[in-house]
Structure formats: C-alpha cells, structure tokens
Amino acid sequence: MGSVTFDILTTAGILFVVASGLMIILGVMKLLNFAHGAFLTAGGYAAYLTGAAGISPWFSVPLAGIVGVAFGLVVERTIIRPLYSRPLDAILATWGLGIVISQIFALTFGRGVQFAPSPLSGTIEVLGIEYSAYRLAVSVIAVLLAIALIGLLSLTRFGLNARAVIVNEDLARGLGIDSTRVRAITFGLGSGLACAAGALITPLLSVDPNMGLPWLVNSFMLVLISGVSFPSLLLASLILGGTQVLISTFISPILGGMTIVVLAAMILRLNPKGFSRA
C-alpha cells in the first residue's frame, strides 16, 4: 500500500513537470503548442549528450532548460510571431515544427534508443519502504518548481504583466504593457520548461525521436482540465495521475494507460471549466 502512495505522488510530480511548459504557453499566448512533445524530446537528447560528454547528469536539467529558452525565443520570433493574428495557423505551425524537430533527431541520432545516465541510482528507504531514489527526487523537484512558478506569476513584475495579458490582452496593451515582449518571454520560458522536463524524465526512460509524443497527449489533457493556474494543474496531476496508478495497479495497466484521457473527457463533460475557477 505504501509503495502505491509513493507511485501516486511521484507520477503526479512527473506529470506536473511535463505539463507546466505547455500550460504557461497556452495561458498567456492562447496557443496550444503541439511542438511541446518535440521540446521534451529535445530535452531528452540534451540529457543524452550531457551524459555522453561526461558532464555530471545533475547539470543536464539546467543545461537543457537554457538551450530550450534560447531555442524557444528563436522559434517565437521566426515562426510564431508572424502568426499571432491567425491562431489556428499558429497551432498547425507548431505541429509542423514538432514533426521537423523529431525528423532532425531521427536523422542525427538514428531511430534507435539512447540512454542518459541517472544522477541517482538504486533505492532509498523512506518510512520503511524501499523506493526508487530518482523518482522521489523528481517529485521533490516538481514541488519546488510549482512553488517557483507560482511565485513567478504572483510576485514578480513579469508575472503581473503575464496575468494582465491572460485576463485581457487588449486592455493590458492599452495600459502600456508590451504584450509582444510578454509573449516572447513566455514562449521561451515554456519551451525551456519543456526541455528541462524532458531532461528530467529521461533517466527514468530512454530517448528516441518520438519519446515526447505520449507525454504531449497526457499534458494536453491535464492542461485542458486545469485551466491556467499552477495550483489547479498540480491538483489535476494528482487526481488524474493518482487514478491512473490505482487503476493500473488494482485493475489493469492496459486500462490505466487510457485513464487520463477518459477521465479528462468525463470531467470536461460534467464541468466544462475543469478545475479552474477563473
């Protein structure tokens, strides 16, 4: 029973980390970033390259984050910004971008599976239960990240501007907020978060050109029901991730695989706003 509790907490932590980049972009830019899966993959390859270069695996996450921010800023300037007035085209553009990125990885690294070293190996004993050390570390990082992101949105100037853009972009611009800049920073931040998340989950998994795809679907569902709020994303991750673990453990892992999608659809049917109170 104890290890199931840990399974739920760590799964929720991983889901939160993976979905946060998608959510911040959706919230501020009203843009569903379908390249999110490819950004996760990019983070995975960043972790692989860090490992291959002999750098401590602890640095792979910040390195992937930095690369992601830089890449996100370039993508925003060249691909997303010209399409601001055409939101549907922008979504298609991110989808295309995702395909291009994963094909570039396939050409560069091959279709095979690569590995990134894990900074923590083996298990540690917590409350009398042997549990994977790295999964626990990821959960701790998820909680810290949630606190940092909530702080960023509610305590900083950028956060204030971003919240103004989220609520009413025209009004925000009228008040002198440079919404183009807010959007650019947001996209950079979102892709940085995605890359860092990819690097963070890679030691538990393996890297291949399509590793981000299943995560994209789950993140999408979580973001749909959580709305634009980090606390509600955390709640959504806990409820959906927890249900997934419970169904996988006690009924069937095959049903567990579709839990998040089905549950999200049911929640949206009963309450179209999901968990968001905004």
């Binding site: 393996s206 590793m211 095959i254």
Partner: protein, 383 residues
C-alpha cells in the same frame, strides 16, 4: 568426350558474355521504415553478402542471383504493396523475408496467389502455416525452455512473474511461458501487460514487488518499452533472476550496466566461437567496412535463408515453385548458426544459446541446448 565438355563450357561462357544468363530474382520485403527500421540495415547487408558470395561461386544453375528489396514499412499495409510489386511486377522467383508478424500475415495471401516460395527469417509467435512458406528462425517452444530451465535448476525458482507488451507476440510468448512453467511444477504469481508503446511500468513494478516472485520473465516489444522496463526495474531495486525475450546484443550493449545479469536465449550470438561464425563476421567486415552493422538474431537467419533458397533451387534443378518448395525441406544450410534444415513441419530444429549480459553490456554464452525441437507447429505438413 573431355573435349566436348570443354567446348560446351566455352560455349556456355561465350553465351554468358554475349547475353548474361537471366538472373534468379529474390525478393526481400523488409521494414526499411517503421518499427523494424533499426534492424533492417543489418538484414539488407546480410542478404547482399549472401548473394555476393553465391554469385562469386558461379551463382545457381549457372544463373546469378539478384536482389529486389522492397520496403514493407514494418506493417500490413506496406507489406501488401511490397508483396504486390515483388510478386506481380518484379516477378521474383522466391522471397526471403525478415519482417513483423503483421507484415507476414498481409503478404501470405499474395504469396499463395502468386505461388512464390517464401522463407520467413524472423523469430515469431509460432503456428503460421502456408503451403508456400518455410521458417528458419525460432518459435516460443525453442526460446522459453532454456531460460525457464536455467532459472529452475540454477536459482531453484518456483514463483515466476511475467511482464509483457500487449500485442500478439508479447501475449503469445507469455502464454507459452505460463504453460511451460506450470508443466514443470512452478507457479506464475503474476502476469501483467502494458499497451505496446507504453513505457511507464511503475504500477506493474509495484505489483511485482508485492507478489515477491523468485524470477521474472519479460516479453515486451523491442526498443523503448523494453529498455525503459529494464531501467525502471533496476532503479526500483529489483534484482531477482531476469529473463528477457526482447533484448538482443545491440540493445544490451547500449544499455551497458543496466542490463547486467539479464538472461536471453538466442539461436545466434555474435560472440559464438565457431569457424563458420568467425568467417562470416570477417566477411561482413570486409564487404561493408565502417558501415558494417553488427550481425544479429534477425540478420543471420536472413543470410541462412538466402543460402537455403539457393540450395533448394540447385537441388530442384529449376526455379519451378512447387519443386523448390519440396526441396526446401531436404536441404541443409551450414551457416554461422551451424547446420540448419527446415524439416520439422516447415520449421527448423535450432541450437539455442543461453546468454547472460556482462557488466560491460556484452553477452556471454552460459549454456547451449543442441537441436531444440520447434514442436507441433504445422501438423498438416508433417511427413
């Protein structure tokens, strides 16, 4: 008399140089794209090497062999296109196919309609029968026995836990494993599956830990699901004897320490220390240099398969399909895996090797099991 033979020989050679003897076409449907694209290059290289070697020795019945390679996209739709073009447009004389079960099943009706001898060279879940098909790779009967026997005798394992990907091969292998374990007096304390692309094994690993088995056997799809399972097992501290049906040498190598101690059973392991295998490894290296792919459990049967087809044509004296089909069960191929004859209801008895992954990711042969019988695969072809 002797002079006459020489004259005939000269005439023959003159004829060949004037218009070369018409080649015997062998079709190779293979997954150049899709799931099999990782292993496909090694399969193509093995085919090319076999054809080159046979042609260098004068071909078959004086005719050179020629390859027709077609991408089956690792699935049913692509295979239909590939077989259609090979059988009806390229009009190949025979087909040697390393491909997925889905692709083989899609190709069989076309092969039956076009009456083309097919040698299937991928291990598979067993019991696929067609009057036009032979199989020279392993089936569950040959793979399961070495691993289960080893765990029962070496580790005194009684309680087994089985984990698989949810698809025909994964379920077929584990169903057979369960029956075999139970027939040997063991019990299966858990059997769990994840969807085929699934890679989060958290819940299953929790089930495994609470079931507390003596040994673990997994049958996932290759690639990411397999390696993520192995990594997550290791990070969860699972260290019971662990047999893996989906791991091969290349994967073990790339996983390094994570795969240490994993058992596998194979009809070919590249470290096999036999003259035939050393020669084969050298030939691949000589022909392809730096681009040479490591020969493996899928590429070596392909190499054997082309030799088997050539030998059958030689024995039948023509490429006439039904004569070749009859001859295929009578010819023996001496390849890197040893002598192989497909005389067991269209399948072959194989020498299986039990391997264990060492800490550097290389596979060492622990034991060999001579001529493991494929069992009752296609009773309608028993003779």
């Amino acid at each position: 008399m002797k002079l006459k033979k020489v004259l005939v020989g000269i005439a023959c050679c003159l004829g060949m140089s004037a218009y070369a003897a018409e080649p015997i076409k062998i079709g190779i449907p293979v997954g150049l794209s899709g799931a099999n694209s990782v292993v496909a290059p090694s399969v193509v290289q093995a085919s090319e090497l076999a054809v080159e070697e046979i042609n260098a020795k004068g071909g078959v019945l004086g005719r050179p062999l020629q390859l027709e390679i077609a991408d089956d996209a690792s699935g049913a739709q692509g295979a239909q296109r590939a077989y259609d073009s090979l059988v009806f447009q390229k009009e190949v004389d025979g087909i040697v196919a390393m491909e997925t079960t889905a692709a083989r099943n899609a190709g069989l009706p076309i092969v039956n309609r076009g009456r083309v001898p097919l040698i299937y060279t991928s291990f598979y879940e067993g019991r696929s029968c067609s009057p036009w098909m032979y199989i020279n790779a392993w089936v569950p009967e040959q793979q399961v026995e070495p691993i289960v026997d080893q765990f029962m005798s070496e580790y005194d394992a009684k309680k087994f836990f089985l984990i698989g990907s949810d698809y025909a091969f994964g379920r077929g292998m584990l169903k057979f494993t369960r029956e075999y374990v139970e027939s040997k007096g063991g019990t299966v304390v858990g059997e769990s599956y994840l969807p085929i692309e699934g890679s989060d094994w958290t819940a299953i690993i929790s089930q495994l830990r609470s079931a507390n088995p003596d040994a673990l056997i997994t049958s996932t799809s290759g690639g990411a699901p397999n390696v993520t399972l192995t990594r997550q097992l290791r990070s969860a501290g699972v260290d019971i004897p662990y047999g893996n049906y989906a791991i091969d040498e290349g994967t073990a190598k790339s996983m390094g320490g994570n795969a240490e101690g994993v058992y596998l059973a194979a009809s070919y392991i590249s470290s096999l220390d036999t003259p035939a295998n050393r020669e084969f490894l050298q030939a691949i290296k000589d022909k392809f240099g730096d681009d040479a792919e490591t020969p493996n459990e899928l590429s070596v049967p392909q190499y054997d398969g082309i030799y088997a087809y050539a030998a059958a044509v030689e024995k039948a004296g023509s490429t006439e399909p039904s004569a070749v089909i009859d001859a295929l069960s009578e010819v023996t191929v001496e390849g890197p895996r040893g002598a192989i004859k497909m005389d067991k209801q269209r399948h072959a008895a194989l020498t299986m090797y039990l391997g264990k992954v060492a800490s550097d990711g290389s596979v060492e042969v622990v034991k060999s099991f001579k001529n493991v019988d494929p069992g009752e695969q296609c009773p309608q072809f028993a003779d």
